[in-house]
């Protein structure tokens, strides 16, 4: 339309008022835009019956249908007492029953800590020791604990997970990562014949963990589910002796000024302080044994970096241990006589991170005193690369189908972590 823009219309209207009648735009309200059939209908004329004071209008409300001579009834506006969940608005944060003035920094399963392991160590008041403890490594090297044809079985597991389990030529990480972890756990479970106490364990998923602690006047909370978790009927024995635990008093936690220790954590004012292991009372398998964290996203930017994965493992293991300690020994902050031990394995289907955490104290507010201990074995490759299709150069097979750079040591450590506590 030629005069669609308002400014053009105004300009011409001004011209019209100046006296240029016929070529100017019409007066406002004199012309209605739109094809007659698409125009909205006119509003109905207002009822004049209700304007007469003192007279009660006789309406057809009681008759339940229209009657030409009677007045139109006016009903009170309908108030639906129920809104469907789709249209419900959340109340503002201040009115939420769990709102608190002090902000809490929550760590959930998608939090990436900027300083990685260092930050996780500071938040949980823990001392890092590289490599797994000797007790666990001795389990790995003990030939009595080996499965027969262990290497062959593990290679079969790798083939199955990376190539065989799906009809596609090259299965994606989202499918092969859980398959490989499940198959390795199944392989470890085959040792149940030698160690019957392996039957006193159960696997659980999607349990909601929630623990809160004070760390130098900041409130930190671990909240969320960490994936698959192995629970046992018997607790894991403590690894470090009393002397080593006392020796941690001299250790100084590494700070990373100017970065705040709460960077990467989600700050929120609506939170619940109560501890929750994720299981109700009377659960027959009360002690958390190992957490399995999988990074199975297909795209690399969606997966955690190894450092961030290790930090997540530390924090979730610590959260489980703290919840368990508070359940067993009460909420007071003290040094534990019986430390609580929790293990964790993190992987993206090829690279494994092993972790054993020993909780020695629940007194986390100050920087001095006994620290907790964590043993980390990082970046253990199970295999370097897996060729799903053979690499053929000039009609000769250069790389056959299968894994390259297979390291059987990684599975031995996995098995040792699984058998720890039952052997």
């Amino acid at each position: 339309m030629a005069l669609a823009s308002r400014s053009a219309r105004l300009a011409l209207a001004r011209l019209g008022r100046l006296g240029l009648g016929s070529c100017g735009a019409p007066r406002r309200g004199a012309y209605e835009w739109g094809v007659r059939s698409t125009r909205k209908p006119e509003p109905p004329p207002p009822d004049r019956v209700y304007e007469i004071p003192g007279l009660e209008p006789i309406t057809y409300a009681g008759k339940m249908h229209f009657m030409p001579g009677l007045a139109r009834p006016v009903f009170p506006p309908w108030d639906p007492d129920w809104t469907p969940p789709k249209f419900r608005r959340l109340p503002p944060l201040h009115e939420h029953p769990l709102y608190k003035d002090q902000a809490c920094y929550v760590f959930h399963q998608r939090c990436r800590l900027l300083e990685g392991v260092k930050q996780a160590l500071w938040l949980t008041k823990t001392k890092l020791i590289e490599g797994l403890p000797e007790k666990v490594l001795s389990l790995a090297d003990d030939p009595r604990n080996h499965i027969e044809n262990q290497d062959e079985c593990v290679l079969n597991v790798i083939f199955h997970a990376r190539l065989w389990h799906s009809t596609e030529d090259i299965p994606k990480r989202e499918t092969y990562c859980p398959v490989i972890v499940d198959s390795l756990i199944q392989l470890c479970k085959s040792q149940i014949l030698k160690h019957p106490s392996l039957a006193r364990r159960i696997c659980a998923q999607n349990n909601m963990l929630s623990t809160t602690w004070n760390r130098e006047s900041t409130l930190i909370q671990v909240h969320g589910s960490s994936g698959a978790q192995l629970n046992a009927k018997d607790p894991l024995p403590p690894i470090a002796s009393q002397e080593e635990v006392e020796a941690t008093k001299n250790h100084v936690l590494e700070t990373f000024y100017p970065i705040s220790p709460t960077v990467g954590l989600q700050e929120c004012n609506v939170y619940d302080v109560n501890d929750d292991t994720g299981f109700r009372e009377g659960y027959p398998y009360p002690y958390p044994h190992t957490l399995y964290l999988l990074e199975s996203a297909n795209l690399r930017p969606h997966r955690f970096q190894p450092d961030q994965l290790r930090a997540k493992m530390i924090l979730f293991a610590f959260g489980n241990a703290l919840a368990q300690a508070r359940l067993l020994y009460g909420n007071d902050t003290k040094v534990l006589e019986q430390p609580v031990v929790v293990q964790s394995v993190g992987t993206d289907g090829r690279v494994f991170q092993f972790l054993v955490l020993q909780l020695n104290t629940t007194d986390l507010a100050s920087d001095e005193g006994v620290k907790n201990l964590v043993w980390i074995d990082s970046d253990q490759l199970l295999y370097e690369h897996f060729w799903c299709l053979p690499v053929v150069r000039r009609k000769a097979v250069v790389e056959p189908v299968g894994p390259t750079g297979f390291q059987p040591e990684t599975f031995r450590k996995f098995l040792a972590l699984y058998l720890h506590g039952a052997v």
Partner: protein, 403 residues
């Protein structure tokens, strides 16, 4: 004249060759004199039907040539490729179906006989020592722990609504149950300790059975085989590296008749589609764990007992379980047999046996299946007395209620 001369030359030439051939024929009996019983040497190439003519004999010869390539295939992968590479319209059979009386239809598609109760136990061998007593109490405790963990002890993020209960609670419960029972029972059965456990891995099978006359199209009036495909996803399955022993001998004749359906499978209702023909047991052919042990199926919400009762289909409750068992176990055992190189023209020489447990979280039904024959095509089934057998129990429930 020139032509006549050429003709005479040709005659002489052919005469020469005839002469030499006659000499050879005369000499041959002299050479093989002592071997009088030898078959006479063929003097002409075999007289066979044409390959390219528009005749039934030519078609038969083409079919036989294709079957010969399958027989001659060097590896199982190649064999499966030749059998499944041509795509045509086929019926898609769903093991978990709401169709009425689906178990009778599936019995006719798969040539299966259904016997109620479990198969006869194997004869006790005197040389092996008796198996250790089954610790029923421990198994029951483990099962109760799994049940209570999912239904009661585990605190989830949000309270699970009723329509999601199935996938959020019953599914992990079945996973845990299978894992715990496998672990506990591996003491009695060492094969279970080394077994492979699959969760929700697909199982596919493609087969031909019966014939029909094509009703419309450019091939109208011609005889065409009926093709079927099952694409199943059992909730859990256990695969072992050694085959399970047979329940009954391969040629065991069952007096029960297989139901014969007089109408086309479309009436079930069954629909045709054309897509990739796959045969898959849960892993590829290279896996050493290529024999099946047990499958576990979880019936979806759509087929649950209360819904069927509301629809006045109380008799279909058993049918749902049976149809699922027959279709899934036939597909699995058939695919296992094809992984060993058997197909409809090379029938199985040993029976393939698998078991199945079908449940909807509260009601369990146990099935055993023995595959005796893969020869289900019209050509191979002409003189085939063997039938596949499926044993099934009644529906059992959990004792007691959840508090």
């Amino acid at each position: 004249m020139a032509a006549a001369r050429c003709w005479r030359l040709v005659l002489r030439g052919s005469g020469l060759s005839l002469h030499t051939a006659a000499e050879a024929a005369v000499k041959a009996p002299e050479v093989t004199g002592p071997d009088v019983a030898a078959a006479p040497v063929a003097r002409y190439p075999p007289v066979v039907a044409s390959l390219t003519a528009d005749s039934k004999a030519a078609r038969q010869r083409r079919v036989e040539r294709w079957q010969a390539t399958v027989h001659a295939a060097k590896s199982v992968d190649e064999k499966l490729r030749i059998l499944t590479k041509m795509q045509f319209m086929k019926y898609v059979v769903y093991p978990q179906t709401f169709a009425l009386n689906a178990d009778r239809w599936y019995q006719s598609f798969t040539k299966t006989v259904f016997l109620s109760g479990l198969p006869p136990p194997p004869p006790a061998r005197p040389d092996t020592e008796p198996a250790p007593a089954l610790d029923v109490v421990a198994l029951r405790d483990a099962a109760c722990d799994c049940l209570l963990q999912e239904h009661f002890f585990l605190r989830r993020k949000k309270r699970v609504p009723l329509y999601l209960e199935h996938e959020a609670i019953t599914s992990p419960f079945l996973d845990q149950l299978v894992a715990s029972l496998t672990g506990l029972l591996s003491a009695r059965n060492p094969a279970l300790a080394n077994a492979a456990l699959d969760c929700k891995r697909p199982v596919h099978f493609y087969w031909l059975r019966g014939e029909e006359i094509i009703s419309h199209g450019h091939r109208k009036g011609r005889v065409d085989a009926l093709r079927y495909q099952i694409n199943d996803k059992p909730h859990n399955q256990i695969r072992i590296s050694k085959q399970l022993p047979e329940f009954v001998p391969l040629d065991y004749s069952v007096p029960v008749e297989i139901p014969v359906m007089n109408c086309k499978p479309d009436k079930l209702p069954l629909f045709k589609r054309q897509y990739e023909n796959t045969i898959f047991i849960g892993t590829k052919t290279a896996d050493p764990h290529c024999y099946g042990h047990t499958q576990f199926h979880l019936l979806p919400d759509k087929l649950k007992r209360e819904r069927l009762l509301k629809q006045n289909c109380a008799d279909q409750i058993e049918v749902v379980f049976r149809a699922n068992a027959i279709a899934s176990l036939f597909a699995w055992t058939g695919a296992q047999a094809m992984y060993q190189g058997f197909w409809s023209e090379a029938d199985v020489t040993r029976p393939f046996v698998s078991q199945g447990v079908i449940t909807d979280g509260k009601y369990f039904s146990f099935f055993c299946y023995q595959l005796n024959t893969l020869a289900l095509t019209a050509q191979a089934d002409q003189n085939n007395p063997r039938k596949n057998i499926c044993w099934g129990t009644q529906i059992h429930t959990w004792e007691g209620t959840l508090e």
